[in-house]
């Protein structure tokens, strides 16, 4: 198998707690103090027929619109693969059906919300909308859902089994599920940080095109590694990409303000890349199972524009960084699944 690859993120579109469908967060980020924030939805009436907008839940509207926009931006209207990562899937529809079941019993239920409750509703809706009969899959693995989807796409692009892939990260957070995840300590109990929502669609291709955002050099994942296994996973990533740690300009992590989460990041960063500048993204987008999708998107935008705004740096910094080489993205999902993703500018 070849160790060189030429895989690009052609375009990415997001709907989140930052202004939708733009990169405004780069220079004018919105700040959130409350522990719970919902995404800023665009005016869907401008994009969908009224019956479509009514029929679809929030997560589906967001997924469909971001997907359509990256398809339009790249001209890839029929990607070879559609792969979604979602921690909770269509949780709003699931809750509606579940609430009716638990509170009103089993006799009065209707199929509407059940039909759009399965996690794969997102990928299949996008496929139905665009008429894509290719590979279609959905990863549902907590905070590693997006990384699983990206790793699948990367492996298939690398082997040239496919030429293009639409990869998504989608999670909505209902008030009900926010309460549940506050009880488990995943959300809400931290001194800092907040819960956000994610809709991120990106188009990947196995060939460079004009206006591509950046190169995707590799994805490596490992489960419950000891420190040696974690180091080995990082080395495998760098080796496959024919890079060394010296090539890495900055490391982006999922520090969120939640103490347990952040301590683990701190210890791994100290052990593996002690002298690298650290970047963050959850201060902008909040915590969510697939928040890492927005992190990779933020890194891709920085690579494309060749600048990193000061607010993305974890340590205080005056002014932005001009010129960006490789960005290493590192995420852990509650300390279990750990993922490394390497991105570089198009020319490198």
């Amino acid at each position: 198998m070849s160790t060189t690859n030429d895989i690009y993120i052609l375009a990415a579109k997001q709907i989140s707690v930052q202004p939708p469908l733009t990169d405004e967060w780069l220079d004018d980020p919105l700040r959130y103090a409350a522990p719970y924030a919902r995404a800023i939805d665009p005016d869907y009436r401008q994009h969908f027929a009224p019956n479509v907008a009514r029929r679809l839940g929030k997560i589906l509207k967001r997924a469909l619109l971001t997907s359509r926009q990256v398809a339009a931006a790249t001209g890839v209207t029929n990607p070879d693969a559609i792969i979604t990562g979602t921690g909770l899937g269509c949780i709003e529809n699931t809750e509606i059906f579940l609430n009716a079941l638990v509170r009103e019993g089993e006799e009065l239920l209707t199929p509407t919300y059940f039909m759009q409750s399965t996690h794969n509703t997102i990928s299949s809706l996008i496929a139905i909308d665009a008429g894509c009969r290719g590979y279609n899959s959905t990863y549902v693995h907590k905070g590693a859902s997006f990384e699983c989807a990206l790793a699948d796409a990367f492996a298939q692009l690398e082997s040239r089994r496919i030429q293009t892939a639409l990869v998504g990260a989608h999670d909505e957070m209902t008030p009900g599920y926010f309460t549940l995840l506050t009880r488990t300590g995943y959300l809400g109990r931290a001194a800092a940080g907040f819960s956000g929502e994610v809709a991120l669609s990106m188009m990947l291709a196995a060939a460079r095109r004009e206006n591509a955002l950046c190169r995707l050099r590799g994805v490596e994942m490992t489960y419950r590694p000891d420190s040696n296994a974690l180091r080995q996973a990082l080395l495998r990533l760098l080796q496959r990409a024919q890079c060394t740690l010296n090539d890495v300009d900055a490391v982006m992590t999922g520090v969120s303000g939640q103490q347990v989460n952040d301590q683990l990041y701190a210890s791994v960063c100290t052990a593996l890349f002690p002298r690298k500048p650290l970047l963050r993204y959850k201060h902008l987008f909040g915590e969510a199972y697939t928040a890492s999708g927005l992190g990779v998107y933020a890194a891709a935008v920085c690579l494309s524009r060749q600048r990193i705004p000061a607010h993305l740096f974890a340590e205080h910094r005056r002014g932005e960084q001009r010129g960006v080489g490789h960005i290493l993205f590192y995420s852990h999902a509650e300390g279990k699944n750990h993922s490394f993703i390497l991105l570089s500018p198009c020319g490198k």
């Binding site: 990928s123 894509c132 590979y135 907590k142 009900g176 995840l181």
Partner: protein
């Protein structure tokens, strides 16, 4: 397949029993596992189901899991099947191998969520089950029982979840990201999806009758099944005996409707045709098709037409084994892969129970006799899910 992928073990728990021996004897003796409801507490006890005939407590004792531990029915069944698969393949801890667990599931811990949902919302007494609700949690509970997995991922494509997990497991091996992949799926019956299927009016009150003119819906089942996959270098390195090969796989999307299949079975046609292409086989090479065959009016017509489009007028023996196991939803791709492997290894056709009247729209009828016309060399297994997530796997003798 980009690289030869071998099956070196498998494990199963379904309505036919726990273990491959129980499964094989039930199939050969034409003993169905579908029975009146016993374990699920629901107002809809009128529907026959394919339950795993063990309570959660019995499964916990069999696995030596302490009674007080947090466990969901889905993860317990999954753990039983993974344990058998690992023993079959003789994979133990500290092997130095990178062993991946790829599991397909959809309802996850919903069995507990629907029981404790009001507590979830109102108090802190059942927080451990909130954390056990999602699909990833289910896979992690299975993985952490063994503590040998260095990659753990979850796929959810509804009723093709396990088949896609098997396909992804093979890709992890061919891309060099794992040495061994344990792949399949698990799912228990919940009130949530029993009621969901009931609102769609696709549950039969009688034993299901796939590919029969009078079919009237599906029977829900539950279970878990996993295959152990590895490439030749790992196999040789550890001196393991291959059982057969996963020779082809394809995942396509029907792109037609959220819950219904297209009339001409476009997605199903493509998944079968592309799996054959992946295996570098022609339709005449296939000796047996384990159909998705749910017993719903829509699936069997759509799948039947797709089979005819691929195989023309020489359709090999086709059967749905869902009259044995019920529709095990996310586990179905694994359960039926194991059944296809048993058929291949023992060269018999698992019969399509409950068949009486041919469907007027189809030129073929499902298999009702065990004896294959020629010894089996290649078998095809179909798994189709909501959203048109269609996957076909091909298993071949060595």
């Amino acid at each position: 397949m980009a690289k030869e992928i071998f099956v070196t073990g498998y494990g199963i728990a379904s309505a036919l029993g726990a273990g491959k021996e129980a499964t094989l004897s039930a199939l050969r003796e034409r003993r169905t596992g579908i029975a009146p409801m016993r374990y699920l507490k629901t107002a809809h006890a009128e529907f026959p189901v394919g339950e795993v005939k063990m309570s959660n407590g019995e499964m916990m004792r069999a696995l030596r899991i302490p009674e007080a531990a947090v466990a969901t029915r889905t993860s317990l069944m999954g753990t039983i099947a993974v344990r058998e698969a690992l023993e079959h393949a003789r994979i133990r801890g500290q092997s130095g191998l990178r062993v991946a667990l790829i599991s397909g599931v959809t309802v996850g811990g919903m069995d507990k969520t629907e029981l404790y949902y009001l507590d979830f919302l109102e108090n802190d007494t059942k927080n451990a089950y909130i954390a056990a609700h999602d699909c990833g949690a289910c896979t992690e509970m299975i993985a952490d029982y063994f503590g040998i997995f260095s990659a753990v991922q979850t796929i959810s494509t509804a009723c093709s979840s396990a088949a896609n997990a098997i396909m992804r497991g093979a890709m992890l091996l061919s891309s060099g990201r794992a040495d061994v992949a344990v792949a399949g799926g698990c799912e228990c019956i919940t009130k949530f999806h029993l009621n969901g299927f009931n609102t769609l009016m696709i549950l039969d009150r009688k034993p299901c009758r796939p590919f029969d003119a009078h079919r009237a819906g599906l029977n829900l089942g539950e279970g878990a099944a996993y295959l152990v996959l590895e490439a030749e270098d790992t196999l040789r390195g550890r001196g393991a005996e291959p059982l057969c090969r996963l020779s082809g796989a394809a995942n396509t999307c029907d792109a037609y409707h959220q819950t219904a299949s297209s009339p001409n079975g476009e997605g199903a046609y493509l998944s079968m045709a592309k799996a054959l292409e992946d295996a570098r086989l022609t339709p005449k090479d296939v000796g047996y098709i384990n159909a998705h065959g749910t017993g719903t009016e829509n699936n069997d017509l759509s799948e039947g037409r797709a089979i005819q489009r691929v195989f023309g007028d020489s359709v090999p023996p086709v059967s749905s084994t869902k009259p044995f196991t019920g529709h095990t939803t996310s586990a179905a791709g694994g359960v039926e892969a194991v059944i296809a492997l048993l058929a291949l290894q023992h060269s018999f056709i698992p019969v399509n129970l409950n068949f009486e009247q041919p469907m007027p729209e189809l030129a073929f009828t499902p298999a009702v006799t065990e004896r294959p016309p020629v010894p089996l060399r290649h078998v095809l297994s179909n798994s189709f899910g909501f959203g048109g997530n269609d996957t076909s796997l091909i298993f071949s003798t060595l």
